[in-house]
Symmetry: C2
Subunit: 347 residues, 2 copies
């Protein structure tokens, strides 16, 4: 798959910007004042708006040693949901399309699937029944279909799929449907020495096959839903084998539980787009250090998709109310983002 | 607790040594040749021996860009067992003494413990019965006694204990019984841009309360055995609550399983001291990149303890055979280590 070139020059630009920012700070810029973005804009795909200014002001405040809001590097933990927050999730979670393609490919070896749900629905292209099974149903679909396979083999299958599979609505590679503004935000945080994690309800092995190359986030900073696995010595060529049993769903309360288990620190920055991210937002907001909670609100029915309170996928209802009540940042995709997908720039 | 001062000047010294090493390499030093340790020795508590030379030669080979064994920084993952590998584990796992102290303190609130095992054994000081319950029994003891407590509260209890509790045999703080040569090795690896992880059968929350300050390893690089937890919004002051249910035992096959789940990469370097580390050693040895497997063999009955094949704690039997068969490094504590505990230098 293609890693967008924007990433590389951004790293350079944003690193430069950071250093420039530090120098400016040392010269006694007033606290809370926005660093000038006239020369190098760390978030060029974002329209000038209060939300953009709030993000930049936050980063300036927490990285300035003389600020009362300064956060030591070791505590700069940022957690990002993935589906609907960094890449699209319509007309269904991308991993569902992978699972459907896989089940169709594996069906000849499993004649019993013709009469067993949820496999029957997949083979009948009955998207309604599949969609109703939700994230848990999707994970079961993936787990059962790949039980007995090594994680190594699974990874190679996902990679091949990601290089060719296209979104049925947008007719481009699924991997092309990443949000450029969010990639910029990740890089901006990284340049300011934040450790950026993905904390997603999506399958861990699926994400790890795609995300490191696509977003530049290493496997050890990707947290997701898991099936149980087993270790097999395999005559000296050890493998980890995927089992057909659910281990953990990294969604809702599962997000702070997994963040606590795997990271062991409260984030100071988090981003999400659905009620499934609300517990992570609350957990982040309770940090004694200055924290930043960001909801991506899907408001652009033309360039992306528009949905919130009544969507089966990525429902944002309680989260939207709580964000407004508590003054968390709610990104209006239509109005806050100049560009959504990187390929828009190529047109 | 006290963080040994040796750590700070070592970081400086070893970083300097690394840079000096690079410069030397660029001037065309022959491959496989040991870098001179005459000026600054990265492992001063180690006697000059083949094992020390092998470690240094490995680090030189994998960090030299011109070496066929060069390992990119992103793949420099090192995993260390804890009990018996970085600190002592006699006359029993240190966490067992914590659990005993805790159960005795909590006993007045639990009159039923007087007649329920394993609590009865603890209250009767029946160490034999307790020891026979093994690591799994110990974990259950800790979990049940702290069920319903927040991880935040648990951490503060462990910290207070670690600041005062003494080893019954050595009559010093448990936290004083860390192996200086292994702390040096951790720092030496870190200075060469290795990401060093603890991967231990010990309880995750217990270790995270002590290890970050004592070894300089951050919470997100500590992997251990876990009980299940729950998220509680707690009227806007969210907490993670410890439940009385086992989640995962990070021992034996559990080590590569957890390494795969949490890190998502095979280590290139690992250290352990018991058969519980054997699967991790095999997993590391199967890396396509040049790997280093190190067993700590407890051979010093005077300065530390001597035990291996017949010990209930830290049994090293199959692992010792496999290490010798495959040429892995086996540290002879008595002969390889000039100093074992940091306090020896204060005498």
């Amino acid at each position: 798959m293609k890693k967008y070139n924007i990433i590389n020059w951004f790293v350079v630009a944003v690193l430069f910007f950071s250093v420039a920012g530090c120098t400016t700070n040392n010269k006694g810029k007033a606290k809370g004042q926005t660093t000038s973005t006239a020369t190098i804009d760390p978030l060029p795909s974002w329209n000038e708006s209060k939300n953009k200014t709030d993000i930049i002001n936050y980063l300036v405040a927490v990285t300035d040693k003389n600020s009362p809001d300064f956060i030591p590097v070791k505590d700069r933990i940022a957690t990002f949901d993935n589906d609907g927050t960094i890449w699209s999730e319509q007309p269904a979670y991308f991993q569902l399309f992978f699972a459907i393609d896989e089940i169709k490919a594996l069906a000849p070896q499993h004649p019993e699937w013709k009469n067993t749900q949820p496999f029957k629905a997949v083979l009948d292209n009955d998207m309604k029944t599949i969609a109703q099974s939700g994230e848990r149903g999707l994970l079961k679909l993936v787990m059962v279909s790949h039980a007995g396979m090594s994680t190594r083999k699974f990874k190679s299958i996902v990679k091949i799929w990601a290089d060719t599979a296209k979104n049925p609505t947008k007719h481009v590679l699924f991997t092309a449907l990443v949000y450029k503004p969010m990639l910029e935000l990740l890089i901006y945080l990284q340049a300011n020495h934040f450790k950026t994690y993905i904390v997603s309800g999506g399958g861990l092995d699926f994400m790890r096959a795609i995300i490191p190359e696509l977003y530049g986030i290493p496997p050890e900073q990707i947290i997701g839903s898991t099936g149980k696995t087993a270790y097999d010595y395999n005559n000296g060529d050890p493998v980890i084998i995927k089992l057909a049993q659910l281990d953990f769903i990294d969604d809702k309360d599962g997000k702070p539980i997994n963040i606590n288990k795997i990271i062991g620190k409260k984030p100071v920055f988090c981003a999400g787009n659905s009620d499934g991210d609300l517990a992570m937002m609350q957990w982040t907001a309770s940090n004694n250090l200055k924290s930043f909670m960001l909801y991506v609100h899907h408001t652009d029915s033309i360039r992306e998709w528009a949905y919130d309170r009544n969507s089966h996928i990525g429902r944002l209802d309680k989260g939207l109310d709580e964000a407004r009540e508590k003054g968390w940042t709610v990104i209006d995709m239509k109005n806050d983002w100049k560009v959504i997908y990187p390929f828009e720039l190529e047109k």
